[in-house]
């Protein structure tokens, strides 16, 4: 029997109050939840009204018809004394449920106040209470119960109270955790400032937030109590025959197993179903409250077609100019169901030449990160390339997972925005460098170590030996990004995709990382795709720039030309709002409004609603990319006005 403590997640304080009504609705929409709840209700009603519901007298013996199989007279058969099984199960429910209520009531009565005190006051109060909870968690409940029964005799109530005391440890932990979480919230401080007394603060703010987790843990405790109570009865403790008791009935079934194995079914069945119902209900409340994740992250490893069914095969240009490393043609990335997909990136075309730095710039929601992740085949789950191709040195990366997988790490590498979470926290930096080295370069362990230390030195780490032996949590963010770059270099990639590589870092570190990327690009003869929302970064490092807005390319050209004279009003707006280029004494410009979410993209120009130059014609039909110079394109029908706008900054 497992009396393991139920693990319940404490919800974030404010998330709960606002969604409580929604939780209940979610819950009742799940068949498992309402079937469980109904079963529990049936058991409760049947046992409370046993006198009227039960078909027979629980003590009436009929030795002639003992151990009978189900019949019209005895729906679930009879026991060894000829008593009706159904009747005794109904009467036994009463005892079982009262025991459960006793356990939960005691656990709540001890756990809630102690948990509140520990969490609210902290310090030595917390230390003592937490230690008490540790003690309760450290003793096997059933052995203690047996000791109590041995001493006090067959007193079920006392045994259940003891169990309640032991189980209260989980309640203390839960309430303590929730209270500490709520206490950290600002509103408690605010309440203290406004002069509310401590007990009132607890009642008003803490209690409402721990109601849901308490309901869950209580539900699960009902199941545990039922299990322990029947277990004790099974070994003949804390029972008073001839009163009906589920555990004792299973014991009796086990004694008659040769003559009447059927007895095992109804006696075990009702116990199993009731415990199952409590567990299922507890789980259902837990998920309903936490909000369920609809897409499993493990899906990324399953064999899947990278494309949706609507994929058209694009014609590859017969003659690829030799200096182009990667070319995206008509790339469209969608999310959602196959029937009604939502486009996240639409008909995107660009190229990356050997040795160049391509900047991919735009606000959040422009689709730049999606584009970067489509190239390396690591789109978030639920997103897919619907049409278009990405050719890399002659291979179409969108053809299948195996094609792009063969390029990952060796030809194409990725470094991402948050270096601290991009490293596996359980392995040393050294180990995380060695693994790709041994895989890609077939190095031995010692060769890989030498190479890893060399790479760490290359990315500007002064004490490579110390960093090599460190775990990710022991190094700084800037250091972690250097390590990520070193890992990306292990396969000597031809293309490095850097997705907002400096955004999460301190300003002083940002410039260092950009300098590092620039010098490594030359040293390793790589091309670089740099995804950023920061025009300053673009100006600093990019040779050519693709400006994206709401899933589309709005402008692309050399970075020099772009800054000299933007030909799209969005680019002009971005520059006006960039602090790097602001003139002292003038207010910083801002583009009015926000990037529309993908499902609200208009038919016409995506930027129309925020554009100072918008006309009727802009909204009527999709705006094509037009050439505005050599290797220069803009998705605007008023490029001339846009250039004036850019110049007037």
């Amino acid at each position: 029997m497992s009396t393991a403590q139920a693990e319940v997640v404490a919800t974030e304080p404010d998330q709960l109050t606002s969604t409580r009504r929604g939780v209940f609705r979610n819950l009742m929409r799940k068949p498992a939840a309402w079937i469980s709840a109904s079963w529990i209700l049936v058991v409760i009603l049947a046992s409370v009204f046993a006198k009227w519901v039960a078909p027979d007298d629980p003590y009436k013996q009929d030795i002639v018809h003992n151990l009978a199989l189900p019949s019209a007279a005895h729906w679930l058969g009879t026991d060894s004394l000829g008593r009706d099984i159904l009747t005794r199960l109904i009467y036994g429910g009463n005892l079982a449920l009262i025991s459960c209520v006793e356990v939960v009531a005691v656990a709540l009565a001890i756990g809630v106040p102690l948990g509140l005190l520990a969490g609210y006051f902290g310090g030595w109060v917390d230390a003592i209470i937490a230690r008490l909870a540790d003690i309760f968690l450290a003793i096997p409940a059933i052995i203690v119960l047996m000791a109590v029964v041995a001493v006090v005799g067959n007193n079920l109530t006392l045994a259940m109270v003891t169990l309640g005391i032991i189980i209260s440890a989980s309640f203390i932990r839960l309430v303590r955790g929730s209270t500490i979480a709520v206490r950290r919230e600002l509103f408690i401080d605010a309440a203290q400032v406004s002069g509310l007394a401590a007990p009132r603060i607890i009642l008003r703010h803490v209690l409402p937030n721990i109601v849901a987790p308490l309901i869950i843990i209580s539900t699960l405790t009902f199941g545990i109590a039922l299990l322990v109570q029947s277990g004790l009865a099974f070994i003949g403790l804390a029972v008073q025959p001839p009163a009906a008791n589920w555990g004792a009935m299973i014991y009796e079934a086990s004694q008659n197993i040769y003559q009447d194995p059927w007895l095992m079914a109804p006696t075990g069945g009702i116990l199993i179903l009731t415990i199952l119902a409590f567990n299922t209900l507890g789980d259902a409340i837990n998920t309903a409250q936490a909000g369920s994740v609809s897409i499993s992250p493990a899906g990324q490893f399953r064999a899947q077609s990278r494309r949706g069914p609507g994929h058209r095969v694009a014609v590859t240009p017969a003659q690829e100019s030799s200096d182009v490393l990667l070319r995206a043609t008509g790339l469209t990335v969608v999310a959602g169901s196959e029937a009604s997909p939502t486009a996240l990136v639409e008909d995107l075309s660009f190229e990356v030449r050997k040795g160049e730095v391509l900047g991919l710039v735009g606000e959040s929601g422009s689709g730049k990160t999606m584009t970067a992740r489509a190239i390396i085949g690591l789109l978030p789950l639920g997103c897919r390339v619907q049409s278009g191709t990405i050719t890399f040195a002659g291979d179409d990366l969108t053809a299948s997972e195996s094609v792009v997988a063969a390029h990952r790490g060796t030809k194409i590498a990725l470094i991402s925005q948050e270096p601290m979470v991009a490293l596996d926290p359980s392995f040393t930096i050294g180990s995380q460098l060695r693994e790709p080295l041994r895989l890609h370069k077939k190095m031995s362990r010692s060769e890989a170590k030498v190479e890893a230390l060399a790479l760490l030195r290359k990315v500007g780490i002064d004490r490579p030996d110390a960093v090599y032996a460190s775990f990710p949590h022991q190094i700084s963010g800037g250091m972690a990004q250097r390590v990520c770059i070193a890992i990306a270099l292990t396969g000597q990639p031809e293309l490095l995709i850097a997705d907002e590589p400096t955004t999460a870092l301190d300003v002083t570190v940002q410039a260092e990382i950009l300098d590092l990327l620039r010098s490594l690009k030359d040293e390793f003869h790589m091309s670089l795709i740099l995804v950023t929302h920061n025009l300053g970064v673009i100006a600093d490092i990019a040779d050519r720039t693709v400006v994206m807005y709401a899933g589309e390319v709005v402008e692309q050209c050399s970075t020099e030309e772009l800054f000299a004279a933007p030909t799209h009003p969005y680019t002009a707006g971005l520059m006006a709002s960039s602090p790097d280029r602001a003139e002292i004494g003038k207010p910083l410009g801002a583009i009015v409004g926000i990037v529309p979410p993908p499902e609200q993209w208009p038919i016409g120009c995506h930027f129309a609603d925020r554009c100072p130059l918008v006309t009727e014609a802009c909204r009527k039909a999709p705006v094509p990319l037009v050439a505005t110079g050599k290797d220069r394109e803009s998705r605007c029908i008023r490029t001339d006005e846009a250039m004036k706008l850019g110049a007037s900054r």
């Binding site: 029997m1 096997p140 006090v152 994740v293 990324q300 359980s426 292990t490």
Partner: protein
Amino acid sequence: MLRFIARRVLIAIPILAIVVSFTFFLVQLIPGNPAQTILGKGATAAQIAAVNHQLGLDQPIGIRFLAFWGNTLRGNLGVSLINGQPVAQSIANALPVTLSLAISATLLTGIVGIGLGVLSAVRGGAVDRIVQGSSSVGMALPSFWLAVALVLVFSILLKLLPATGYTPITQSPGQWAYGMVLPVVAIGLAGVASISRQTRSAMLETLGKDYVRSLRAQGLPTRSIIYKHALRNASIPIVTNVGFQFIGVLGGAVIIEQIFALPGIGQLTNIAVSQHDIPVVQGAVIVTAAIVLLVNLLVDVIYLILNPKTRRA
């Protein structure tokens, strides 16, 4: 590391001390005259006096408390009221049975539970639904009902495995294993279900982390990402639960040993309880608590090894 272990031991000692004191005061809780309760209504005055003397009840409580502590610290857990055997000896005889049951069941729980959980998380779809559905049912199966059901199917109907009997592993490992299959499955199944559910959710959480994407971007094989990196990170919370399962199994042994007639601590306690053999019950509580504290210490150390963030903190 050593300092950490030393600190945990220092915390465990007062807990054990409280448990020892608790077992002492347990006897004081007996309503009325303990000797009368132990012996039943028909006891003569001489018998009651003898038991009172044996329990030391004829001395002041302070003296008795100190004497109890002194004996316990010397490993003397008293003498059985029923058969006069030293309690420490009886427990020492029974301990290997219970430990072999508990360790086997915990191994089953850990290995099968983690395996099923990983399978469920990684394969998804029908496999996931089947494993999850069976786990829900598995967690609701009372070990004692399952034990009897297993005996019914495998011993009575199929005649494949013995329903009762214990062979020490030192005598014949084969016979020991043969006899342990049903008890271990009966007592371990709920734990398998619990661990598999926890492993599944821990794996899913880990596989959604950013570093998993980074590992994929490095071109590492799926095998390494799932079994080396993700499982390693997911295993940190699982270890704690495996420890809980061991404690649960230790308690469940009381019932399971009864069903399968295994001469372990559980059966010893059970008989002692029914005979009001207080010294044996006291001894069993103290020894079990000591084992539990030891296991908790082991769990803490494994946790420390698995989680580098706590290692040098």
